[in-house]
Symmetry: C2
Subunit: 422 residues, 2 copies
């Protein structure tokens, strides 16, 4: 990419970090007070003096609200568990995510704050993007709609099916950008190749909702889509953090959105970890309609520390991206094993297409085996190298078992606990 990607959506992204921090802290009392107008937050934040929540320490003293508890909260009080500060019928949309979990969208422009990740991915006024998230029941496609409207980019509302029509639309309408899941773009490209269709106009892609392995990012580069970006967002929060590039080269980490406060906490405790340590992502969102205060996502990440300022000019803190689910953290021989460690091991060995750590045995006699999908059998020294990485990363002994591609379950689990607890 060229100079266009060095600029940012607005000046907020280039603020002095201390100025940003002051501004965020100054907004906290109003956010807490607004939340307390909603019956659900009034219960959760009972006795909290909103005026006193003016620092990260004061924020960290507030209770967590866990994403995994949303369903129970909502069943008690439909549709939003009383966490909405705007009445359901004053909203623009009501969504149903699997669960079902109900999610609101208010009337404000770019309500999900998706223009930032989209701008960082190269979406511009006068452009055309093909929106391949589903528009039905879930909000991802409308996050893209809101961002495109703010930026002034036209949209092909394509959804996540009808692959041949996707290819024909790209060939005829020549969009510059794909937005959707990584797996569906791969399906589209393979279909275009089979049809002999020219979809080379698509130079940018903004990916979400699925992990994007570096091997797949390389595959996109090799198959005509050089500028591939990830965003970390969710159906309740909207945009949390996003990748950026400078002169066509991806910058490290994901830049945090201007309207959220991210904490990384020790799962289960709510207590912030030391900067750079892996922990659960907890998000506080400055949203007038659906304020979220210390919302525990269940996703793992870490702050990027010791890094140079991002070459893109954005000054906000960065996180390392998605490092697995908090609920997969497992104790093996008295040591914690984190999904992020499995991802870390996998990244050190390009031979591994996909990996899953399986823990078996009875308690106190745990066996840890890293199942690795590989394209072809590996020579013993490469297997030894993986065993060494396991020891290096987890401080535990583990075995390696090679598997044919497609063997491991596609359920997003890095760690599977098969121990017999009886």
């Amino acid at each position: 990419m060229t100079a266009a990607s060095i600029d940012t959506l607005d000046a907020l992204e280039k603020r002095d970090p201390a100025e940003r921090e002051r501004a965020l802290m100054a907004r906290l009392p109003q956010l807490v007070a607004r939340a307390q107008q909603a019956p659900g937050w009034a219960r959760i934040l009972k006795g909290v003096d909103a005026r006193a929540v003016t620092s990260r320490a004061a924020l960290a003293a507030l209770p967590l609200t866990r994403k995994r508890d949303l369903k129970a909260l909502q069943l008690r009080e439909l549709p939003f568990g009383g966490l909405n500060a705007t009445a359901a019928r004053q909203l623009r949309h009501v969504y149903i995510s699997p669960g079902p979990i109900y999610d609101p969208e208010g009337l404000g422009q770019d309500w999900w704050r998706f223009s930032r990740p989209m701008y960082a991915a190269g979406v511009r006024a006068g452009g055309l993007l093909q929106n391949c998230f589903s528009y039905h029941f879930t909000p991802a496609a409308f996050m893209v709609e809101g961002g495109a409207a703010r930026i002034g980019c036209a949209v092909i509302p394509a959804g996540a099916g009808q692959t041949e029509m996707q290819v024909q639309a790209m060939a005829d309408l020549r969009p510059d950008t794909y937005v959707g899941t990584p797996s569906f773009l791969r399906i589209i490209i393979e279909k275009a190749q089979a049809m002999g269709a020219d979809i080379s106009s698509v130079q940018h892609a903004l990916m979400g909702a699925e992990a994007l392995p570096e091997s797949l990012r390389a595959w996109f580069r090799d198959n005509g889509v050089p500028h591939v970006f990830q965003t970390y967002a969710s159906a309740d929060i909207g945009s949390v953090a996003y990748e950026t590039a400078t002169a066509g080269v991806l910058n490290p980490g994901m830049v945090v959105d201007e309207d959220v406060i991210v904490e990384i906490v020790r799962p289960g405790s709510g207590e912030p970890v030391a900067p750079g340590d892996i922990g659960e992502i907890v998000v506080t969102v400055f949203n007038h309609d659906y304020p979220l205060i210390r919302f525990a996502t269940g996703d793992m990440s870490a702050l990027l520390v010791d890094a140079q300022p991002s070459a893109c000019g954005r000054t906000n803190v960065r996180i390392r991206g998605w490092l697995g689910r908090a609920d997969q953290i497992t104790k093996v021989r008295a040591m914690f094993v984190y999904p992020a460690q499995v991802i870390n091991i996998q990244r050190r060995h390009p031979d591994i297409l996909k990996a899953r750590l399986v823990v078996t045995g009875r308690m106190a006699n745990d066996v840890m085996t890293l199942h690795c999908e590989v394209a072809q059998p590996l020579p013993p020294e490469r297997i030894e190298a993986i065993v060494a990485s396991i020891r290096d990363v987890t401080k535990l002994r583990g075995e390696v078992k090679l598997e044919a591609p497609g063997t491991l379950l596609d359920d997003g689990k890095e760690i599977e606990d098969r121990r017999d607890y009886n």
Copy 2:
């Protein structure tokens, strides 16, 4: 419905008809001039002096542009055949309807003018509707989005699948209105009955994209949805005409939209028929981005004449609704037979669930048979009554053949010409 349905979206709908006519005619020169800025219309309207198009007679002298020719026009000049007055990348959306036909949507609020049919169907600010048109590639769902945003009604973007989730959303969120096809609402209601789910909040339905037989409207009434309205719209024009009700009783005909001029013409000629005669619907649309001048839809209807002013207070002309496809008009024994006549015959006989007129034989020896799906065999006198209706309506002799439900093809054809032309 109550007093709420007697009012209208705005005062335009209650204008003095002469005032409306003057206003529409006064807008024509500007519309034609705007269209002539687009290369496609510049070709079609070559030599036309926009300033002189100030009357229905002057409009009727302009050439027709047929919907069925759009694909060829677009293939010559992607994506819109040069009929768009706003550049593709300055639009909000680009759609792909089956064909494929590309359709634009500009940035203006309620671009498809759907707030009028929605308001007439009882959609109000502070309401909640379940939008069961598909959002993928085609524009119907976004017509609803635009209308809901203008009115201030919240939307569940549900799409046209996942029936169980549709039922669950209705049971939990309690929307007041369904918008979508008639057939899908029937599927949802039957699923809710099977699940024992309470979806009684849905009291209003706005239907489009499919014919709505009166028998199905009665079925909805008998199954808990008393207020069912049809709209006539298309992916290129947006809203053309819509049903209204007063005190819960449907008014005759469909009221024409405030920003279109409807002509009813003799198919093939472009020449307006006498008021009240059946002909092809030709629409001129006051749209800044995608002006359509004498756009021949291929659909048949007729102006409603000799009727009282609509009890709803709307003063615009009304049409009789969709009366079949123009391209099915057939000549039998030197007499024209119209799809609308088949619909007319069917309406006289509640026994007929579905009908299709099949013409067979060699030229000059035509045989006309009305195939009728019926729930059970009919006694001879009822068959005789149908034969009498055929003679009465078409002035031609025809036979009746009874068929089991589900026998006739579901291809929207009222008339099928099976004659041997060799």
